[in-house]
């Protein structure tokens, strides 16, 4: 018999040689051993090579660590991936943005000519061509985009890992298996761009289909989710929420391209009706995979049901919900409404963060289980000190993702969680760390400054374009 554990001690990627249910069967001592081993190793390898980690370690006076817990003072804030000064974007200083990013990764960015670039989209493309880095950006709901320095290989691994979660979480091969290649892929969003959804969607086509366009549908098949427009949109929302719209600065480069953006967006209402028609004519009754955010699913279901469509797809289909609710409150019965429209239940709940390539999944007991590749820490929300590993403790979640080997993947989330699985395994039988489904953001809990609503990318685009249209030059 193959010993999964010894393989994982050689490489955490080895989990892909097995079904993922194995990741939830290790005894607690083995999980500890695996996690200590990899956090120590990552620190030793990355400290001299990731400038930001080197500085932080120096600042904290840490040269070596002896166990995973020693890395607590070295956890980065989840905001570190957006710690660049906004003036870099406002003044098109992509040379500086490149330098900033190079401080977060071992990937060599010296071939990237940032000085000649004037938009984020171009910068991301240039990085892909010149360094192989497949930078992924977040939706920037609080005003700034995070840029994650993932390599192409890491992005592929992440995509594969998610498919294993869906397939194996409730037992090996019990769930939908994308790798079989029999599912049509429907994405009610943009096909192009460097947002997480766009990156993953294109990889899924590459990895899980034969590339036949008959099996692929996007809401916007040609268009790109523009990081520049998303960035502006996030800042408009943040400024609106604080009543500071009058203080907003617009990058010159964006203003120069204003007409181009506006023209592109004008064509969009047509896309929506075309999308609905194509879903109906090409995909009704078929086995499909659909990936979107809560809000998007809900809006789509409401619109579809209003037009008299229900039970559109085959019951063998499945859907994944991502992106969190981002502050949006859906009305009672939203899940049923979505199921009625789609024709199958939406149950594949995942709790994940863009800063961590390892997702967790929800068990029947209402707990999100993280596989051992995500090393969990529970921190005191005020002091940042490590809290004892006691089941039922409430604190701020920090994770160390042992999968990537090109950047320091230890970060403190903005989420308050109730932790478990340290003393006793979950009633569902899985071993290892879990958090209760009652997750909340500290910023929401404190009730104040982060009430920025994000209803999803297209709406964000709309608001940014409306603002640009009305912006006096």
């Amino acid at each position: 018999m193959v010993d999964v554990f010894s393989e994982l001690m050689e490489s955490p990627q080895a989990i892909m040689n097995h079904t993922l249910d194995k990741a939830f069967e290790f005894a607690p001592e083995r999980i500890r051993k695996f996690q200590d081993h990899w956090v120590i190793k990552r620190f030793a390898e990355l400290r001299p090579r990731v400038a930001m980690l080197g500085k932080l370690a120096k600042e904290q006076g840490i040269e070596t660590i002896a166990c995973a817990d020693d890395a607590v003072p070295l956890m980065l804030s989840h905001t570190v991936y957006k710690s660049y000064p906004l003036s870099y974007l406002e003044n098109s200083r992509f040379d500086k943005l490149t330098k900033w990013l190079s401080g977060l990764t071992v990937t060599d960015l010296s071939g990237v000519d940032g000085a000649a670039i004037e938009s984020i989209d171009d910068w991301i493309d240039e990085l892909e061509v010149k360094s192989g880095l497949l930078v992924t950006h977040t939706s920037g709901t609080t005003g700034k985009l995070s840029f994650l320095p993932w390599t192409k290989e890491q992005t592929r691994n992440t995509c594969a890992l998610y498919s294993r979660v869906w397939r194996d979480f409730n037992g090996a091969y019990t769930g939908p298996d994308m790798a079989k290649g029999n599912l049509a892929l429907i994405t009610p969003s943009y096909r192009n761009g460097a947002g997480m959804a766009q990156r993953m969607a294109r990889l899924r086509i590459e990895m899980f289909t034969d590339g036949n366009e008959d099996n692929i549908l996007f809401l916007y098949p040609e268009e790109r989710l523009s990081a520049d427009v998303m960035s502006l949109s996030g800042r408009i929302r943040a400024a609106e929420a604080k009543g500071e719209l009058g203080a907003l600065k617009i990058p010159e480069a964006l203003l120069r391209r204003r007409d181009e953006y506006i023209a592109r967006e004008k064509a969009r209402p047509l896309a929506m009706s075309r999308f609905f028609q194509e879903v109906q004519s090409r995909f009704a009754g078929r086995d499909v995979w659909i990936g979107a955010m809560y809000g998007m699913f809900y809006d789509w279901a409401v619109e579809g049901l209003n037009q008299g469509h229900r039970h559109i797809f085959s019951p063998n289909s499945f859907a994944t919900i991502g992106g969190g609710k981002k502050g949006r409150q859906l009305p009672e019965g939203w899940r049923e409404k979505i199921a009625e429209f789609l024709g199958f239940p939406v149950t594949n709940d995942i709790y994940a963060m863009s800063e961590c390539t390892v997702p967790s999944a929800l068990c029947a007991e209402g707990k999100y289980h993280f596989p051992p590749m995500a090393v969990p820490y529970l921190l005191d929300p005020k002091t940042g000190a490590l809290l004892p590993r006691k089941d039922g403790s409430v604190g701020r979640l920090a994770l160390f993702d042992v999968m990537p080997d090109t950047y320091w993947a230890g970060f403190v989330s903005g989420d308050e969680v109730i932790a478990g699985g340290w003393e006793k395994p979950c009633r569902c039988g899985r071993t290892g760390f879990y958090v209760d489904a009652s997750i909340r953001r500290y910023s929401e809990k404190e009730g104040g400054d982060d009430k920025v609503l994000c209803a999803g990318a297209p709406e964000a685009h709309d608001s940014a374009i409306a603002f640009l249209t009305g912006y006096a030059q």
Partner: protein
């Protein structure tokens, strides 16, 4: 005593309501307090008819000043259990640390002196206008005359709780304008206004001034209260301090007949001219005065300095000069006396993360302090403030080197309140241009919180004048008027 501490009574025109039914959480420290359910009292909370303000007009201003002076005597902390209770609760709910809060409570009674009442009336409105009809005749129309008087109004005051003086000044203004005031207290200072009202009731239960002040706590945005009282038949004015969200709630109820006076959430900044660098002693003195503008009230106030533009130049030498000022300012901040400024008792967690992030960006920023709750000075290396400049608090300021004062002037906008300036000559030189941009108040460096100026115009927004209803009485010559009813009107009318 501890039971007593956690209750916040409802006071309606001299009547104390202690039916503590609802539980609320304080903003800092997670303190819970109980208060009556205001929605059950909305029908009596507002003054039923504006004519009921008449009793206030039986008072001469001298009597108002006497009343306030006596109130001030009774507010002395050591002798007043309500003030003590407000302080006790404030220790948990306020953003000010204990030594600073205590200083505020010790100083507040002086705000009620007779001189202060006259001075406030004179400077913030005009005593004549409050006391009677003032002749404003000046028309070219023959035989006409005009008189103006400032009357009180029925007003709801949605006050801020960052410093307890906001409660004091509201009580004071309500009295001198002869208004009927309902003070809606904030969760970070739920009890200070009530302490004043209870002292007033004890002192003179039937006095019109005691009978025209109400104090209530409800959660901002509670429709069961706000829908009922924000009605032009029941109030004439809403005076809303700070908090974009609280102002957003209120805008739903605005309609003709309700006058909203907003004291918008504002931020303040500083401009330091190149003269600061003439010699070592001057630089040290500038650093000490800057530390005062940053540290006073623990940077909880809207007039606290946050972004500091420094005319040091942005070349390597210039940035080094600016950094030297930053270093000295950080030291001065640490040396401020305990009754002026202390490390913040509840340091902003997200701000701490931002500081940790910029500390790593040593090409772009130099950071002094910011490791615990001691405060920090972040020196930018280019002429750009940090992205989180609008959330600087807890004694964290950002020094921004500039080549040219225009950069500083352009940064001023409708969200700017006070600008501290060094040297004096620069203030004079820049003041018109800063005013065009949106600045409200210009002060000598170090005086942002300390100077009260005696102008009593609250950052130039004329709160007291706007609390009043300005009534005009015009008299015309009958023959002149009647002439218009005849065939050939006189063409000289304007």
């Amino acid at each position: 005593m501890s039971n007593n501490l956690m209750t916040v009574p409802l006071i309606i025109r001299g009547k104390l309501i202690e039916n503590y039914e609802l539980e609320f959480g304080g903003r800092n420290g997670g303190v819970v307090f109980t208060a009556p359910d205001v929605s059950k009292y909305v029908s009596e909370l507002t003054l039923s008819a504006p004519s009921k303000l008449a009793d206030l007009y039986s008072l001469k201003f001298a009597e108002i000043a006497d009343y306030l002076a006596e109130l001030g005597e009774r507010l002395v902390f050591e002798r007043n259990e309500y003030m003590q209770a407000a302080f006790e609760l404030g220790r948990s709910t306020s953003g000010l640390s204990e030594s600073l809060l205590r200083e505020r409570f010790d100083l507040m009674p002086r705000m009620f002196s007779r001189e202060e009442a006259y001075h406030t009336a004179e400077r913030s409105c005009g005593l004549d206008f409050l006391e009677g009809w003032v002749d404003q005749t000046g028309s070219r129309q023959p035989g006409t005359s005009g008189f103006v008087r400032a009357f009180g109004a029925r007003a709801v005051h949605i006050i801020a709780g960052n410093v307890p003086e906001v409660s004091a000044i509201t009580v004071l203004r309500n009295a001198i304008t002869r208004s009927d005031g309902i003070i809606k207290t904030p969760s970070n200072d739920p009890l200070t206004a009530a302490a004043f009202a209870r002292t007033m009731i004890e002192m003179a239960p039937d006095h019109p001034l005691s009978k025209h002040i109400s104090v209530a706590y409800w959660k901002g945005g509670d429709e069961s209260v706000e829908q009922a009282i924000y009605d032009p038949r029941r109030i004439e004015k809403i005076i809303a301090w700070g908090g974009f969200n609280s102002i957003k709630h209120i805008t739903r109820y605005l309609q003709p007949g309700i006058d909203l006076v907003t004291l918008d959430p504002k931020l303040s900044s500083t401009i330091i001219g190149k003269e600061a660098f003439v010699d070592k002693d001057t630089l040290a003195s500038v650093a000490r005065r800057l530390a005062l503008d940053i540290g006073y009230f623990n940077q909880e106030a809207c007039n606290s300095a946050r972004v500091v533009y420094v005319e040091s130049g942005t070349d390597e030498e210039g940035v080094a000069r600016c950094a030297r000022l930053g270093e000295l300012t950080f030291e001065a901040l640490q040396n401020l006396p305990e009754n002026v400024s202390t490390p913040h008792k509840d340091f902003d967690r997200e701000l701490k993360e931002e500081i940790d992030n910029v500390r790593m960006l040593d090409d772009d920023y130099t950071v002094y302090g910011g490791r615990g709750s001691e405060g920090a000075i972040i020196v930018s290396h280019e002429a750009e403030p940090v992205d989180f400049s609008r959330r600087l608090t807890c004694r964290v300021a950002n020094l921004v080197p500039i080549d040219d004062l225009d950069t500083a002037i352009r940064s001023v906008n409708a969200y700017t309140q006070t600008i501290g300036i060094y040297p004096e000559g620069l203030k004079h030189e820049l003041r018109d241009r800063l005013a065009f941009q949106g600045a409200q108040r210009l002060v000598s460096l170090g005086g942002a919180s300390l100077l009260k100026g005696g102008t009593q115009r609250q950052d130039g927004i004329e709160t007291v004048r706007r609390m009043c209803r300005w009534i005009v009485d015009e008299t015309g010559d009958s023959a002149y008027l009647e002439n218009y009813a005849n065939s050939e009107p006189v063409a000289e009318n304007v």
